[in-house]
Every structure is written in structure tokens, then in C-alpha cells.
């Protein structure tokens, strides 16, 4: 994905970046389920 974005990161950087991005995007997508005004919204923000 970083290559698709053409960011000049080296393999070592990508290895360290991958878990950070997994964590960040996973949390972001969890929040999307709660976003007020979203069609199909099921829940409020959590505690």
C-alpha cells in the first residue's frame, strides 16, 4: 500500500510501519461504526 502511495519508505520502515497502520486503521474503522449521522449507525460512542 505504501508503494501504491509512492511514499519512499524502505523495507525496514515498512516493517515497523505495518503494525502502526493496522492499529490506527482498525481503531478508525471501529469509530466509523459509531459516527453520528452515518447511515446504518448502530451504536453511540463507547465508554
Amino acid at each position: 500500500m505504501a508503494q501504491a502511495l509512492e511514499l519512499p519508505l524502505e523495507d525496514e520502515d515498512l516493517e515497523r510501519l505495518a503494525p502502526m497502520v493496522d492499529d490506527l486503521t482498525g481503531e478508525a474503522r471501529r469509530l466509523r461504526r459509531y459516527a453520528p449521522g452515518a447511515i446504518g449507525q448502530l451504536e453511540d460512542p463507547g465508554e
Binding site: 519512499p8 520502515d13 502502526m20 492499529d23 469509530l31 459509531y34 453520528p36 465508554e47
Partner: protein, 479 residues
Amino acid sequence: MHPARLGSSKTRVSEAQDVDFLTLAEAGRRIHEGSLSPTELVEALIDRARRLDPVLRSTITLAADSAFAGASAAGVAIGRGRWSGPLHGVPLGIKDSIATAGLRTTANSRVLEHWVPDEDAPVVAALRAAGAIVLSKLNLNEFAWAIPSEHDLHPPPRNPWSLSHVAMGSSSGSAVAVASGLCPAALGTDSGGSVRQPAANCGVVGLKPTHGLIDAGGALGAPTMTEVGPIARTVEDCALLLTGMSPTGMQYAGDLDRLPSGTRIGVPRRQIELVEVDREIRAGFDAALNTLRDLGMEIVEIEVAGMADAAVADFVALSAETFAAHELSLRTRMRDYGRSARLYQSQGAFLSAADYIAALRVGDVVRERVDRALSTVDVLATPVVTVLTAEAARAAKAQPHTGGAAVFTAPFNLTGHPALSVPCGFSNERLPIGLQLVGRAGGESELLGVAHAYEQATNWHSMHPPLDADSATWGHPTG
């Protein structure tokens, strides 16, 4: 210089140290009445910085020549009766991610290693107009968002209370310099806790103002949640600095003693209990609540659901805005970013527009909840950080995306409410602990008033780290 040598070094102290640890308010008073000249004060602080900072590492640029010139001009103006207020002739430190005209501003990055801005950030211009002198540009985590390392352009500042620990960031240099008597007050920036956390960690006061109150232009950071805030040794000094920073003409230091009776402090107890907080921090927080109660304030348990999600959302939005700011530079100068900074500034590339908008909407929801809570109480109280050291914060949660150690501070960056950290004790290892107080939007006067009342009921603010041979007894109160 090795840290172990600092406490045993032969130093000239006594009188000089009295000047070194003058509060901003007292320095301003003495300069006004003529018992201290700006040049004497600048000279003492530069001497102290040159002596101590090789170990503390709080300063990136010591602006000795321009500070002496400014001090001389201030002395002449005051001598001719043109005193411009309590900041006139008082030297300040500025985080090195805030632009200063003609003075190198690096953000502690090789990307900006040689950048000399043409213009001051508006907040710096406002402070200069109030008569303040820029003494130093202070160290920080690279671009205010990275895990610091010994390989940084400038390695991380050490915590003056325990030189074996680095100070929490990102405004680490600002908090270390103020706590160590290298300057009476400083500016930091705060996007998730970067003023309040280092302030708590170094035993000084740090304020993140209401979003939009202070012009954050010229301060490198994400526009939605980055605020420029004062760091000082007392609440009064923060209020004086905020007055100089603010374009409103509001006099924040004038109302500090006018605390209305029946002040109510809201504690989001259930949200705090859901977080793993260091036992000593929890004890310090509970003791602080008892002190507030002894002052006649009412402690009320309240609900602010969604605080932890607001912390997450702050970091999601921060990541997106950070990448937007750095994209061009990352594409052309990736290798000039440090190993950690290049990842932190890049990760937002992987977020979608929907992620960003959802994060902002979570902020909207929690902002309404905080507003609702603050319609029933005057101020909220929480711990500042969950752990005692920068190293523990890193070990507990390598990535801050779930709030991590910032779970109590980051929500209020996204909601925009003013929040401050005031010292509330020490751990058994003699590391400072802070109390966070959060006010209504635009309610800085009330917030500072509550913090001042608490501060005056304690003596934490009179403790200084044992950096000099003559004050080697820990916690020696030097007034």
C-alpha cells in the same frame, strides 16, 4: 557531561539561584520597581543554561546575543518610564516548533535544521509586543510527534527530578527548562497532551487554552487540535503569559483570587476507573480531590461517556492532518526524518476521508457531552497521565492510537475545552504527579482560579529539582 556529575559540580549559587527561580510575576515586579534589570536576569539565566543544559538537554538554541540586546532595550525603555506591563523585560523560552523571526526554528528535525523564519508566529509577536524577550528555543520530540531517540538532531531532554529518565513530550524542553530554572516560563504546543503531560512529569503548570483563543499560526502542528499553551512554575505565571498571548485584552491574572463560593468539581469517576492508572498517580489524584474538598468545593461524580473514544479519535484526526501537512516533504526528504518521525508523519496516508470525518464527528458528540457535564459543574478533574515516566508510557503502549498514556488529555484537544495540569504531589521515586482540570470553552479565568486556589493550598509549586550543589536535598523548598 555525564548526568552523575551534575549534582556534585562546583557552582556559584545563593543569590544567582534566587534570580533563577523567580516566578515570572516576581521577576516582572522587580524589573518594574528597578531592583532587578532585564540584563542581570538574562545574564543569570544564560549562565545557568550553559552550566546545566549540557546534561538537561532542554535547549536547542540559546539566543544569547538577541536576548542581551532585547534586555538592554527593555532596561532603557523602563528607565525612561515606558513600562509596557508585567512581561516587560522578562525572558521566555519558546518550543522550537514555533516560528521566531531571525532565529532558527528546527522542530528538532533535520528537515528544518537550517530554517530561519522571516516572521514570528503571531503568539510570539504578541509576547514581544508585551515586552517579553525570547531567550531560547526549546527541545521537543521531532515535529512534536515521534518517539525520541539518542540519534535525534537533539537528543531528548532529561527529567530534572530524575536524570535517568527522559522527560515526557512533546514539549519536553519547555517543561524541563522551566522546572530547572533556566527560564521563568515557556511556550509549548499541545495536540494530545504535549503541554500538560511534560508539565505534570516535571512538576510545573501547563495550560492548553480553548481551541481558537490563541492564534496557533506559525506553530507547526495539526490545525484542528493543536494549541499553543504556557508552561510556568505557578498558575499566576500561566495566567500572566496567557494574557500576553491573547488578543482579547482579557486580564487572566486579575481574577485568580476571586473564586466563587460553591464551586463544583466534576469527576468522571467511572471513565477513570475503566483505565489502568499507576497506583501512585491514583493516590495523588484522590489526595488532590480531598484538598479541593477541604477548600470548600463540592466534589461531584459525573458521566462523560465516550472520553476514551475521543482520545482515539483525536489521534486519528491528528494522523490525517499531520500527513496532509508533511506529504510533500515526506516524498522528497524522507531520509531527513528520524526513524520514528517518518512513520508517525506517514501513517495518516492510510486513512480514508471517511475515517477522518468519523473521528471529527466523535469529537462533536463528546464535546456536547462535556458541555452538558460542565453545565452542572464548574470544572472537571482527572489525572493527567496514566504512568509516571516517558519510558513507561512507551512500554505500556507503543502506539498512542488507543489513547495510551494520553487517554485523559487527548479528548479535550478534539473537544476544544481548556485544560491544565497543576502539580499535585510526588511518587515514592520522587517523580512529579499532575492534576488535570478542564474548564468550559472560553472559561480560562474560572479554570485558572480553581487551579490557583488548589496550588495555594499546597506547597508542590515551591519545590525545585536538586540540580545545584547547594540544593542537593531533594525537594528543598526555595520559595
